[in-house]
Symmetry: D2
Subunit: 342 residues, 4 copies
Amino acid sequence: MTVRAAVAGASGYAGGEVLRLLLGHPGVEIGALTGFSNAGQRFGSLQPHLLPLADRVLEPTTAEVLAGHDVVFLALPHGQSAAVAEQLGDEVLVVDMGADFRLKDSADWETFYGSAHAGTWPYGLPELPGARAALEGSRRIAVPGCYPTAVSLALFPAYANGLVDTDAVIVAATGTSGAGKALKPHLLGSEVMGSMSPYGVGGGHRHTPEMIQNLSGVAGERISVSFTPTLAPMARGILATCSAKAKPGVTAETVRAAYEKAFADEAFVHLLPEGQWPATASVYGSNAVQIQVAYDQAAHRVIAISAIDNLTKGTAGGAVQSMNIALGLPEATGLSTTGVAP
Amino acid sequence: MTVRAAVAGASGYAGGEVLRLLLGHPGVEIGALTGFSNAGQRFGSLQPHLLPLADRVLEPTTAEVLAGHDVVFLALPHGQSAAVAEQLGDEVLVVDMGADFRLKDSADWETFYGSAHAGTWPYGLPELPGARAALEGSRRIAVPGCYPTAVSLALFPAYANGLVDTDAVIVAATGTSGAGKALKPHLLGSEVMGSMSPYGVGGGHRHTPEMIQNLSGVAGERISVSFTPTLAPMARGILATCSAKAKPGVTAETVRAAYEKAFADEAFVHLLPEGQWPATASVYGSNAVQIQVAYDQAAHRVIAISAIDNLTKGTAGGAVQSMNIALGLPEATGLSTTGVAP
Amino acid sequence: MTVRAAVAGASGYAGGEVLRLLLGHPGVEIGALTGFSNAGQRFGSLQPHLLPLADRVLEPTTAEVLAGHDVVFLALPHGQSAAVAEQLGDEVLVVDMGADFRLKDSADWETFYGSAHAGTWPYGLPELPGARAALEGSRRIAVPGCYPTAVSLALFPAYANGLVDTDAVIVAATGTSGAGKALKPHLLGSEVMGSMSPYGVGGGHRHTPEMIQNLSGVAGERISVSFTPTLAPMARGILATCSAKAKPGVTAETVRAAYEKAFADEAFVHLLPEGQWPATASVYGSNAVQIQVAYDQAAHRVIAISAIDNLTKGTAGGAVQSMNIALGLPEATGLSTTGVAP
Amino acid sequence: MTVRAAVAGASGYAGGEVLRLLLGHPGVEIGALTGFSNAGQRFGSLQPHLLPLADRVLEPTTAEVLAGHDVVFLALPHGQSAAVAEQLGDEVLVVDMGADFRLKDSADWETFYGSAHAGTWPYGLPELPGARAALEGSRRIAVPGCYPTAVSLALFPAYANGLVDTDAVIVAATGTSGAGKALKPHLLGSEVMGSMSPYGVGGGHRHTPEMIQNLSGVAGERISVSFTPTLAPMARGILATCSAKAKPGVTAETVRAAYEKAFADEAFVHLLPEGQWPATASVYGSNAVQIQVAYDQAAHRVIAISAIDNLTKGTAGGAVQSMNIALGLPEATGLSTTGVAP
């Protein structure tokens, strides 16, 4: 079986990454590549690293162009996915790599995104308890945000096992591709090289309610999240340092056991041996997640740290993994746990 | 008045940085440059960026070589400063850029450094309440660690004003020069470029007791510190993200007011206008500290973030600033708040 | 058909890269991983990006361990391959990623490598005229140096078509992984980030005679090569800027035509459309070569520029490509022309 | 004596760098800071590394605002300097960091810049034979381009002493700040980190005629320049690799002697000892030039390599150095040869 996949928003970083993965997917044939302002351009000038597609031409993002595909990946600005998805039939698998269908709470959506809530689709983080079942056979998938992917995987075992209190503190560093190809002064190479800087401090980042939703769902009670994202001088990768106060009776052993059990059967999540810590370079270009956890006896905190590639497991790899589940393919088809390092 | 200064450990990063600053200091003449394994080598091959010293030769670190200087900067491996300092007269100003004389608690020293405690010298972080008085006229200075500099400045106004609870959570990113010139595989350029990784997680980093000492001293009660350092793909800079739970009644306004008051008269600490966040690039090569603070109403936390150059304000700049105070010079002599950017 | 492959020197960068590629090769089963000082260690601590091999243990590099494999990749220090190869039977395909069997001229070998010449094996640069035939069915392969790969591909069409004179001038920038995992001060992250520097200037680099050999072979006369390598602040990639004086009558059109013809049937060499220039990021982690060529009318020079990943096409990818040819597999098996970007 | 200096174009990289230097210049008081689209903004939000100027406000670039200064630095887009300069009196020292007044040949100007030629001003590269005399007392200075600075200093001793033929081949790598703050996709951090790429290949770069002008002036005959610029993953620095065929009779000794003589009295040009090579990190933020030269006996070429900071010696440092000469100040006032490294 081969499915035919289109990518809307193919000239951006998320669109390019899903194409990179689909080029190596044995069950997918790449159909239309669409965009907005760049439509009509040779694809090789827009995504010069995707040599097998260099002679393609970017088409406009219209229902006509996207029609006739089995799968459509949407890599669109926030708020634009619903209009496109509506024009595609229910039999088409629509994988939205934007934020539009992630949140269940309309008020959260409106507060953080400032527009009307489009709805909620099955959530494409298969490792989250309960997520896989909702993805099987689905024809709509909401791919998680990159930060919520890293954070939810790092912390859900602690909350699923009642190891920590409800106040999670998260500081994460991301590579600049997380900000997309937008032409903004602070994203210039001259500005980012040699510099670390925070943004969206104090609860303002749009991924905060998504983390709260995921962790609260696992914990069975409302989790508070203090989230500080920082921009690091690298193109790819997220390192998420997540901690919360340990509940009485928690020990290093109970923490370790909970994490080992949580990921024992997961192909993409690698709990590192004790003493070894994640590095974003180790998962560069791969769908793997590296996780390590520690119990700080003096500070009474559990610290869980995860490393992902924000474009792969954090966006396009998670999208392909979820597509595989929805289509009934082996979950790891076309995906790798081998990073490109050094 | 011109003082004559020697630098022991001149071929390392801390030694090189203090020399870079002293070359621009109008009241200092540079005397002996000493080292261990590199003694006898032309200095230009060891520190090629210090062109005015290129034709000097590195001498061995002995009492004879160091004798006859007014100031001696020690940039030695931990545990070696006491033996050298003992051989220098009480009239010589000895500025230790190592850890040996920072901690007051011998048990902390022995736990974290594994050797006998050498003692405690006046602490070279002038902006910390009470520190300046102890430095005036002193002939011994213990320069703070780079992380404690960034963290203590970011958090002390919150503790001095009773704004937050006793559990501080800190995640900091450092440039690789913080690890020194040691030849370790994980410090190779191929490994660090494009990668973020944590180390010393769970309370093990040696700078933790120093942070606890500083913050507890300001708060008047024992502060708990959860500290996670991470290595960032840049040569210089520390970005410290520090937070703690706000006490009841705290508002964004009380927080802002406390920070404005704390730094109103400080030449090197720049509290940014609301809405602007620190970036390590902005303090590159300068003795400035950029700080911003926010109150996260949903998570009930105060988040204070500081950016310093780990080698300048975090080590050699702090050393020169403290030397100025000890010698009765204007505190900012030879120091700059202008970063080298972009 | 599945062949069993061992990698000697598996803990280094070349060894790690060939394993990364073999993990995705449908016709290869990975056998022994061997090393020297690291033997006995868990492989996951040595190459943490190769998650599928994390639980393997590095074995010592001995004839016993390497016996019983169909293919053995050698990623050893220069001068050590011959002794290992001799102990392997003639039926074993030995792919040497070191320099030992590249040069035909014993005097060149001795001048540049300072030891006795081991011999010459079929040269693993299939795109070089005549090279493919020598590789078919061979059981010994000498993988080219990374710089000679980039330079020979960029310049051979000019020499094969008599477009330029015999004095080639080459300046190339390499990522730091080209220098291997050796612990040398100038390779520390603190030293390489933010810095460009040359080395081996003036004809001293060991890859110079290999370039001369390749280009002279194509030209049918002795080519002179002025080669300046430079170290760039990136982990991977080579950008080679190669030029020579154009012969009378040469035009932009004749140059373009020669290059189009040379690479028309090559799967891995991508001559870019006019106006687009290579970037090492575009071939990151891929076996592709991006080439562009220009004729500078004012300076009467042909300038050819190539970009490769030094570890992939420049080392391990070239090795796997040549292995495929030797084994009679489709040449592109297990190899990709899709770069990991941005 | 204190002069009052204004900077037009103060929000860009060249403008910011000249302000960084002027803040440390004992004879200069900083007057108006002007710009175009950013006029009215707080300067601290535009150049956050210039803390002493943080509370200034950017004014519009008009004759009224610039009037009443002793020195005006112009950091404007090409073609805009003449109109501004005309409105300033002859007694005002106007230092143009743009290209408008560098070239003597109007045809060259029109070919490469596409507008009418504004004229020629004394050329601000004091180390070039004859340049210093023209700068003394001048009230108009044309600051050289960054590449021509690096290249002319590396090659003029070879041409002044008749050591090489007339065909110079130059490949240079620049940091991204050389491209300014313009918002272009290829300058995004995600694109430049980890990547080397050429541009303006084949003779098209605007700095080419300036190099030809400088080298021809020294040689006394027309020099041909093949110039290939490349973009490196760093914010600052130029490494220029320059070579030409040696004339008969030239030896390593004659080459070395010519370079030693050329720079013996130059404060900012540091000819490295034999065996040591330049690195851009060594001159980071400084006005120093590191140069090394080699004679490749096999290829019969002289290779001269220079490293500068493109923003300092390559732009703003050269501007301040030339200003000092014009004003009769010691040439090195406010300038340093100490790089910020590592």
